[in-house]
Amino acid sequence: MKLTGAQILWESLVREGVTEVFGYPGGAILPAYDALLDYPIRHTLVRHEQGATHMADGYARATGGVGVAVATSGPGATNMVTGIATAMLDSSPIVCITGQVGSRLIGSDAFQEIDITGITLPITKHNYLVTRAEDVAKTVREAFVIAKAGRPGPVLIDITKDAQQASCIFDWDAAAPTIPGWRHAHPIGQEQLARAAALLNAAERPVILAGHGVMISGAMDPLRQLAERAHIPVAVTLLGIGGFPASHPLNLGMMGMHGEAWVNTAIQEADLLLACGMRFDDRVTGNLKTYAPHAKKIHIDIDAAEINKNVRVDAGLIGDLRDVLERLLPAIAVNERAAWAQRIAGVRGDAAVRDIQQLPDDGHLYAAHVINDLWRATTSDTIIVTDVGQHQMWEAQYYHHDAPRSLITSGGLGTMGFAVPAAIGAKRARPDAEVWAIVGDGGFQMTMCELATAVQERLAIKVAIINNGFLGMVRQWQEFFYERRYAATPLSGPDFVKLAESFGIHASAVSIRGEVLPAIADARAHDGPVVIDFRVEQEDTVYPMVPAGADLDAMIRRPNPIAETGAD
């Protein structure tokens, strides 16, 4: 069968199971777009290529599948860079396809020519420049394998215009991936497992640190079994939220910079840490020199390069988390660990009041309250997509996720502007799920153009803008560390209600507590995209906080155990 490179591209994507792509056309990718009309793949037209990559990312994170983004050469490709880096840092499998100028023009600084494989080299797992139609099918197959395998991540395929236009014989079987550099993991030996189990069984004050790897590997069940059998409390990273049910009695909550005091205290007092698919990021460890000083450390990760990177471990188990935990389970002794449970309960009681619903209404609207109300009003299969900043941390603290993949957020790169497009991608992936984007007024203004995408594609995402008129997290740092010198953090914006309405989107504004739940109910009842502008307290602060580089238990605590926020 003779096909053009463009046809082979879509044919290969169809065979890889792709039904949705997110993209933006342009000169160098035109042959591919022309061929797209003949293939059963739905294309979501974005308003900016960064949005396409975040949508592909949101799509991937909502399902565990691979998301696909398409753009043209030059600026189309460079606009993808932030989204690719976001996916790289959060181990999210996406395949980005970019058009490139004709192969004879490469290197000539032709119109819209840019070396996108060079640019994305450090932010992709791998990338390809395809200059012949004959190489398209094999490259797509390899790209999907690489994106998904091991520690997932982004792969970019740059295809020249002439490779899209040329024809060749399409032979799917002959295009089977051959990746000579692949190695099987050294199987983890029994003695390594036994050593880890012995450390674990001997521990009196163990804590499990659960990261994104729990979701990626699908290790929720063995993780839960292990925690329950050995009565080990579980602390989660930001991206680990949902990997262990928030409502589980052994759940401690999020660790790190904005983790609750008892979580970080438990880690600092632990005599053993079992790290599962997490990478000891500086946001979760604080000062490495004083991090968990009494603890032996067991680190399970699929990426050998993560072992001993930030924290020296006593046992490093390299492999698929689910597989390793399942093999470890039989060797784990049942143990009540009553004293440790009692100690943690004690520290918990000492912490600030967390039941935000009981706080008296002083007429101010607090973001934490809005987010907690959203949690009360929605079900556990709701997908929440957050942007980056204060609202992201409040979401992590006050929206209690019981289901895996129910929180999608940019953790590693901390990409503002992520939420709205990623929510669109998540809604595409799971059209029957309720999808909320929680976003600050700063991040929202970075990618709010994608509201038009939601309208055009009839994607009923709900957007909750936590609008405090500040770049809130930066303002908070200025409050704590720069003597309240608010350089470039006060932020104006449009009337978000009018803005949304101009897109044809149902919108409302809320500024008092009593209106929060009715506005959420109204949004849920509306069959289409909704924007709610929550006009919250301007100078509100995320507590507790471990200053960057400080000891993990040197937290800035809530100023008053009753007052949730900085309302003086």
Partner: protein
């Protein structure tokens, strides 16, 4: 911190050297020298990379290198018995008065004279970096006009090329899922 020597087998494809060099730069490792050429396997190049790092860093370098799709095999041969060589071509000012003594010096250092011109000669020397540095030291007073060095290349001693780290069949096409891509 000390110098670690890695033998890295990579697919002979465009951009692979860039990927390896970029990795060292990106992860903050300082390349002391990097030499690339064909290996004994068609389509496979062999790099000798010398990097200043500690043992933990050396382990992470290996793990990171293995994450590059085009990297086939990595061996840390720092502590293994190995032949280590550097090749230098050195052009030195030489006139009627100095030429004889330069020839004698070359003889002492086991260097070869590969070009003689009216006002200069070119010496070729292979050996350890220290030996070449020694030759250079004594040549300087005569006036070194130009010099080029390959950087370190190394091969382990003995018959077996196999490293204990090497999974069998790593150089064959492997259809299975790996942890390290």
């Amino acid at each position: 911190m000390s110098l670690h020597t890695f033998a890295v087998y990579v697919e002979d494809r465009p951009g692979v050297l860039n990927r390896v060099a970029s990795l060292f730069r990106r992860r903050g490792f300082n390349i002391h020298s990097l030499a690339v050429g064909h290996s004994e396997i068609p389509g496979v190049s062999r790099m000798t990379a010398v990097v200043q790092t500690d043992p933990g860093g050396a382990q992470r370098i290996q793990a990171h290198l293995y994450k590059l799709v085009n990297v086939l095999r990595v061996e840390d041969i720092t502590t293994r018995p190995a032949i280590v060589r550097d090749l230098a071509l050195i052009k030195v000012t030489a006139d009627q008065q100095t030429r004889t003594s330069l020839v004698q010096l070359a003889h002492v250092f086991n260097a070869r004279i590969v070009d003689v011109a009216p006002e200069s000669i070119v010496l070729e020397m292979s050996g350890s970096e220290a030996k070449i540095d020694g030759l250079l030291e004594v040549l300087r007073p005569y006036g070194v006009l130009e010099m080029v060095r390959t950087g370190r290349i190394a091969i382990a001693r003995g018959s077996g090329a196999e490293s204990t780290e090497r999974p069998s069949g790593a150089l064959e096409v492997d259809e299975g899922i790996s942890y390290s891509v």
